[in-house]
């Protein structure tokens, strides 16, 4: 009996040895990427919270933040934006070349690497993925990104490991377009695509074996309403400096918690290991426990979010909304907007709303965007005198009670709408209200539930002013095209312009069109600098402040390198590891 066992053990040892040698041989042919982080240790689980549940793992339909947070850990892109350096770096494409006219990109793919189900990856998968994304009938959000501004893209396979992308016009940020456009496994999704059921594929209840990707992790299990657990992808294509295959962690668990505060609480009590989105109030609260509870918090400085006051400059209010149309005469007066801007105490807002963890803003680019910030934008402090002068020169007068009136003698009163679920923006609105009261302007703040708010701003245009914010996914100006182009779908202050309504909007249009085809960075920067100047002078939106990105992690989490680009913390999840205590 005992001999039998010994025999079996010897046999097993031989077999595993042979298998190991085989995989070693296969690994030799793999073109892996070597990372530069600290060499870590295998094992362990990372727990992180999400404010809402992930809905799907389907890259084509995942559009909400929680789904994307999970999905991107399981998938990989061809060219990646390094969240720390904010520049592009090789990913599934180990290298690429662009033609001189910027119209052709040849991407050379890593050879010998595999999807998380063990199936090989090659150019067919890339061609299939882009066929899906660019298909009109699929209506993927990626398509909007790829073909923005009348771009046309065609994809061709040159050989099994080379793919050629052809553009109809040059795009200064073409390489950045590939970030987050993940490569789909043709062998798993082709049938669903041809059946037209791609939209329903890869839901969270799909058996994990039918989902695969090129990311560091793959789906392990899903408990509805509670958690999603991902496990190590044994075929992942990155190794550390000592050729250990990444990722180090065995598992990541995403816990669903219902609110911002609950996220902070779960992190404070040690239930979660990393927190990506802390607000300044909870940061201050949690900072007190840093020593005793064994975590560290980091203030990464201002991110890419810009909060602003928006005046309704839409043209379609005439006749339909007479009351608003009457007030738009004030809003269209640039001196009025400048007076409002001059009267707002941005430093008070940063101090009270963000408890000092933020930066005042005078144009849309934040200090966190080092590549594109125009440092010459003037930053005047709050000045009621200047505001009064501006109003006076625009024909406004004050009555004996100190209330501001226009040249028709109408009292200047308006309302600011904001989303009630965002307490920081509500606070900004309340402070602006008091600042403007000092000018004799009576402002009422109207909190609206988020979708009601959006409906007014984007659809019915039944609002006078609003406090809102936009967050850029990338530092580059290109994703912002739709905000600044007068025909853009998020040209919020005046939607659906047939042609630029003002000379300065016309100038912005030209500058934005020009920057997208200008391949040389300094020249492009000059164009976007001018856009920022125009925004600061003409104030289509009155930028107010940008909050810092605040994150935290357990003390013994190695290679934790948070960055101000989304997703802030988990962008290098494959490198994270637990240091021995």
């Amino acid at each position: 009996m005992r001999r039998d066992i010994r025999l079996i053990l010897v046999f097993l040892a031989l077999v595993t040895g042979a298998l190991w040698a085989q995989t070693k041989a296969a690994a030799a042919k793999e073109e892996l990427q070597r990372t530069t982080g600290e060499v870590g240790q295998y094992g362990g689980r990372l727990v992180i919270s999400q404010r809402a549940e992930a809905k799907t793992l389907n890259p084509v339909t995942a559009i909400d933040r929680p789904s994307r947070e999970v999905m991107y850990r399981t998938q990989a892109d061809l060219i990646h934006i390094n969240r720390v350096t904010q520049r592009t770096e090789p990913a599934l494409a180990k290298s690429w070349t662009a033609s001189n006219d910027g119209l052709e990109y040849a991407l050379r793919l890593r050879r010998g690497i595999r999807f998380s189900d063990g199936q090989p990856f090659n150019a067919d998968d890339v061609v299939f993925s882009f066929q899906v994304y660019l298909d009109q009938n699929v209506h993927s959000p990626q398509r909007d990104l790829l073909i923005a501004r009348d771009q046309k893209i065609t994809v061709q396979k040159a050989d099994p490991y080379t793919v050629v992308f052809k553009l109809a016009r040059p795009d200064a940020a073409a390489e950045r377009l590939f970030d987050s456009v993940v490569v789909l496994p043709k062998h798993l999704l082709e049938k669903a695509y041809h059946d037209g059921t791609l939209g329903q594929a890869w839901s969270l209840t799909t058996p994990p074996g039918q989902i695969a990707g090129l990311g560091p992790f793959r789906l392990k299990n899903y408990v509805p309403g509670e958690q999603i657990t991902l496990e190590r992808n044994p075929y992942y294509w990155k190794v550390d400096a000592k050729d250990n295959r990444l990722p180090y962690l065995n598992e990541i668990t995403f816990l669903v918690v219902a609110s911002e505060d609950a996220e902070a609480i779960r992190f404070q009590t040690g239930d979660t290991d990393v927190i990506s989105r802390l607000n300044s109030e909870n940061y201050a609260l949690l900072a007190k426990d840093q020593q005793s509870r064994g975590y560290t918090l980091e203030d990464l400085g201002p991110g890419l979010e810009y909060n602003f006051i928006l005046f309704n400059l839409n043209d379609d209010t005439r006749g339909r909304l007479p009351d608003i149309a009457r007030k738009q005469a004030w809003f269209r007066e640039v001196k009025f907007r400048q007076a409002v801007s001059a009267a707002i105490d941005r430093s008070d807002i940063v101090r009270l709303v963000y408890q000092g963890r933020g930066e005042p803003l005078w144009a849309q680019v934040t200090a966190g965007n080092k590549l594109w910030l125009n440092t010459k934008i003037p930053k005047p402090a709050r000045s009621l005198n200047r505001a009064r002068e501006l109003l006076k020169s625009a024909g406004f007068t004050w009555n004996k009670d100190g209330k501001l009136g226009d040249h028709n003698g109408q009292l200047v009163e308006f309302s600011i709408v904001s989303s009630s679920s965002n307490s920081q923006r509500m606070q900004i609105a309340n402070m602006v209200q008091q600042d403007l009261a000092r000018l004799g302007i009576e402002v009422s703040v109207v909190p609206l539930e988020f979708r009601s708010f959006l409906e007014r701003v984007t659809q019915t245009h039944e609002y006078e002013a609003a406090v809102m914010g936009l967050v850029n996914g990338d530092v580059d100006p290109n994703p912002e095209m739709n905000v600044w182009m007068s025909s853009g779908a998020t040209h919020l202050w005046n939607l659906g312009e047939k042609k630029p309504a003002t000379p300065w909007e016309e100038e912005i249009d030209k500058l934005m069109e020009q920057q997208i085809v200008t391949l040389n960075y300094p020249a492009r920067k000059k164009l976007y600098d001018r856009v920022q100047e125009i925004v600061a002078d003409e104030l289509p939106i009155i930028c107010v402040a940008s909050p810092d990105i605040l994150v935290g992690s357990k003390k013994n989490l190695g290679n934790f390198r948070p960055a101000i680009l989304d997703p802030y913390t988990l962008h290098n999840v494959e490198e994270l590891f637990w240091k021995p205590k």
Partner: protein
């Protein structure tokens, strides 16, 4: 403590509270909307009687606050200058019974500040906000409860008394009302209100809506009581003598429901005051900068406020005597009406 004495205390307490709230303008040292941005989350100002030299004063005085340069919302007392508490000072403008006034009960000379219950995140005086906020909240609770109860009473008694088809239909209507996703209606109502409506008016409209919608539960309870009251011997006897339905309802049946009615009132008034906490969570409460107990409590939902600034709990504490008072009163009235002594 005898029952009578307890009722007396409750009445005195409630009248004091309502009096304080009516005289909010005079009693509150500051305008409830005024932001003192140098003092966010300042703790309650300490009243001193002994100065830095150790000598005793007959009249309270306070020291100024110096914000800490490094940490948000941390303060130190500035012992170099004392500000005596003054009575009947001139301050922010308010209106009382239609008269425009500036006189306040107490105050402090500039540049000092007195925050008896500390300040909120904008540096607004919590004491003043509490007084002003009571106006809206207590009234809102009364209006909504009165609406719900009178509707509930009407439906419940008709349903219970007549029974049969009327009862069935009305009770299914009750279920329908209890089950509806009213939040959407509230969203819709808010969306259809004009932008320029004052925050108080907007809120009272919503109060009317939730009050009107809330009749279903009391209706069910009252119907139950009517159902059994209808079968009591003296009611049957009165019916036998040919008493009309109206007479029976008014003289014999409705008095029986007074118990449920009053208990419900004592429960509903606090519930409707608290309902605003939920409403403000959804952006449907009293809009800033107008204070109400509901929106003040609402801010307590934020973890950092609840955990760091204990004085923000003041509105929660002031609710306890209010509700206690209502309940004692309800019990007392219930007894008086039911047993007639």
């Amino acid at each position: 403590m005898s029952r009578k004495r307890m009722v007396r205390i409750a009445v005195v307490l409630l009248s004091l509270l309502y009096g304080a709230i009516l005289g909010a303008g005079f009693l509150a040292p500051y305008d409830p909307a005024e932001q003192d941005r140098a003092h966010p989350f300042a703790p309650p100002t300490r009243l001193h009687f002994v100065d830095a030299e150790g000598s005793l004063h007959g009249w309270p005085f306070i020291y100024g606050l110096i914000p800490s340069p490094d940490n948000f919302a941390e303060y130190q007392e500035d012992r170099s200058r004392a500000f005596p508490v003054r009575l009947f000072v001139s301050g922010d403008h308010y209106s009382l019974l239609g008269f425009s006034c500036r006189r306040h009960w107490f105050g402090i000379d500039e540049p000092g500040h007195i925050f008896l219950l500390g300040t909120d995140g904008y540096g607004r005086d919590q004491f003043s906000r509490l007084l002003w906020g009571g106006r809206i909240s207590l009234l809102a609770g009364l209006i909504a409860a009165a609406l719900s109860l009178s509707l509930g009473m009407a439906v419940g008694s008709v349903s219970g008394y007549f029974g049969g088809f009327v009862d069935d239909t009305l009770m299914r209507l009750v279920e329908l009302f209890l089950a509806m996703p009213w939040l959407y209606l509230l969203f819709a109502v808010r969306a259809f209100l004009p932008l320029h409506i004052s925050p108080t008016v907007a809120f009272f409209l919503l109060v009317v809506v939730i009050g009107t919608v809330g009749w279903a539960r009391p209706a069910r309870l009252i119907r139950g009581v009517v159902l059994s009251a209808r079968e009591r011997k003296y009611v049957l006897a009165a019916r036998g003598f040919g008493a009309s339905d109206f007479y029976l309802l008014r003289r014999h049946i409705l008095p029986q429901t007074m118990g449920v009615f009053l208990t419900q009132a004592a429960l509903l008034i606090p519930q409707y005051i608290l309902a605003e906490v939920t409403l403000s969570f959804l952006g449907l409460g009293v809009g800033e900068p107008v204070p109400s107990w509901g929106n003040m409590l609402g801010s307590l939902q934020q973890y950092h406020i609840l955990a760091s600034y204990w004085w923000m709990l003041a509105p929660a504490l002031v609710l306890v005597p209010v509700f206690w008072g209502y309940q004692v009163l309800a019990d007392f009235l219930h007894e008086r009406l039911e047993f007639g002594h």
